[in-house]
Subunit: 336 residues, 2 copies
């Protein structure tokens, strides 16, 4: 209706609103950011002007002036896996409630690219940072420290977080799976793990604990990261000849485990009679597929929520715990 004034690309700014409402720009700013410090009367007049002119505040200018971007950056390897997208939504929602936007950056799994990505991200001056994993180059750690931004690392559980951490111990978790299998009387084992650091840690913990139990490692394969159903199928096809005795297999994700199960059954290898399988992640497929299978459940959503809360606390100057370990538990289903 009243858009004729805007056909020249002239965007409405705070001074336009101020003029229209008969107040100073600063008052408009207050109506937007600290309405409790403005009389209801003036605020109403200003809001009417904002509405009438279709004013959209410029957060770039505001950010430059206030030195707060009201933005949090999250660096995640990929969103093409429930593992990583599970924390994102709660993280985003929690921050949105406090007026923060989330900028999601996908890092992939390649080494060495992290430095450039973090630099790029920091150039937008985020008020906080979420990182996936806790293994960073000294250069990155220095960059982060110099920036003085609150940082929360998720998924991993190093002893020396950069700042804050919400994760769990993957090696210990792998060991727990080995214990679980051993307690069920298994003596022969196999493991299929993606090549990313966390899957590798789970595998290492699994293998190390097997040794203690005197178990035999029949097969061990490294899969691409991120790995999917077909990687699991292919790997099982590969190791099938080695499965001459009853074997317990640990897959680095539920997709891998599902692929292994599908391929095993297709080849007449009975699950769990000849091959017991445990996955990781408690994705929907682990409970809803034809053969619901055993997996390790971790609460990704809670991890995302806590990460957001800790960042908000730190931003507000409130104390936040430096290191939180999340529980993980094995959910036994029909595959073991």
């Amino acid at each position: 209706m009243s858009s004729r004034t805007r056909t020249h690309g002239a965007t409405v700014k705070i001074t336009d609103v101020a003029a229209a409402a008969g107040v100073a720009p600063m008052t408009v700013s207050r109506v937007l950011n600290t309405p409790e410090r403005v009389s209801e009367e003036t605020a109403a007049r200003v809001r009417a002007a904002i509405e009438r002119l279709g004013y959209v505040p410029n957060l770039i200018a505001g950010g430059l002036s206030s030195r707060r971007s009201r933005m949090i950056a999250a660096i995640v390897p990929t969103i093409a896996s429930p593992m990583f997208y599970a924390p994102v939504q709660p993280f985003t929602d929690t921050l949105a409630q406090s007026g923060y936007h989330v900028m999601l950056a996908l890092s992939g799994y390649e080494e060495g690219s992290e430095d450039g990505l973090i630099r790029a991200v920091l150039s937008r001056r985020p008020d906080g940072l979420l990182l996936t994993g806790a293994a960073h180059s000294p250069a990155v750690r220095r960059l982060l420290r110099d920036a003085g931004v609150p940082v929360v690392e998720i998924w991993d559980a190093t002893e020396t977080p950069t700042d804050m951490l919400v994760g769990f111990d993957h090696a210990e978790l792998g060991a727990a799976v080995a214990d679980f299998f051993a307690a069920a009387g298994h003596t022969h084992f196999a493991v299929l793990a993606a090549s990313d650091p966390r899957a590798s840690a789970r595998r290492a913990g699994f293998v190390a604990r097997l040794a203690r139990h005197g178990g035999t490692l029949v097969a061990e394969r490294t899969l691409p990261a991120p790995s999917g159903i077909e990687d699991g199928r292919a790997a099982l096809r590969d190791i099938a000849p080695l499965l001459t005795r009853r074997t317990a297999l640990f897959g680095s994700s539920d997709l891998v485990a599902y692929g292994a199960i599908v391929e095993a059954r297709a080849r007449g290898i009975a699950v769990p009679a000849q091959l017991a399988v445990c996955g990781f992640g408690d994705f929907e497929i682990s409970r809803a597929s034809e053969l619901p299978f055993t997996t390790v459940s971790i609460d990704g959503a809670a991890m995302g929520r806590m990460a957001a809360e800790h960042l908000l606390a730190r931003i507000a100057g409130r104390p936040a715990p430096p290191r939180i370990l999340m529980p993980a538990r094995i959910i036994a289903r029909a595959s073991t």
Copy 2:
């Protein structure tokens, strides 16, 4: 503790680098943005200073000054589905190659929240916008037009895109599935569709075309959005009593289709002998599950890439096609 020091002058800025390198700030800016306009000699000196001081440019300040944020916003209902995350990675990668960052905003499926979300996003002054779907309120369309930002809509195929569009016709696609089933001799049909606009359009197209073929619609169910494997299983449980004759079922996503297949087989309903199933999306599970199933394949990655390219073209002032329809094809597998 050190989170305050950043804003107390501890940050290295362009003037610090300039002083250290013995040049004017503008020269530093040029080294960063248009290196071809600086002599190699000075550039080297400046780069050394940047390195030494650990300078990270402030894109907030740069954006305010240049009126270009070098940022593109993408609004997506959810990333918890291959449907929506498939285009995101290529979109992000393509833009990254031209120096643009992507800000991902999750809108959910609720009506009416779009207005506020787009307002929030526009307040960061993105240089371009990706929207999922093409049905927007008049208020939103006005907001977008006033902002003067290049916009690309994906997934949908309205006749009147806001600006540019890369999508396909869901109703037509549903009709094609009906044709496919009819050509195979089917006379009785069922459809399970999520409640989102695109799934609804596919269903409507499917149902309308059935009528033309004189087919009988045995069952029709609306599922939550986004719907998963368990929704498909539950829906099939619900309609199982109605499947007294051979029926052809269309699911609004491969997860729904997979759930239907799993539940059908669990109940002794043979697939495809008694129940033929077609899904949508060509997710990995459609080809890697125990019974590879028929689905509709659409190239989500290509959609993301094209969306990015068109935005880049528009930003650069080059022409870009207003409306591109992507091909979709039915991939027949063992479920039909």
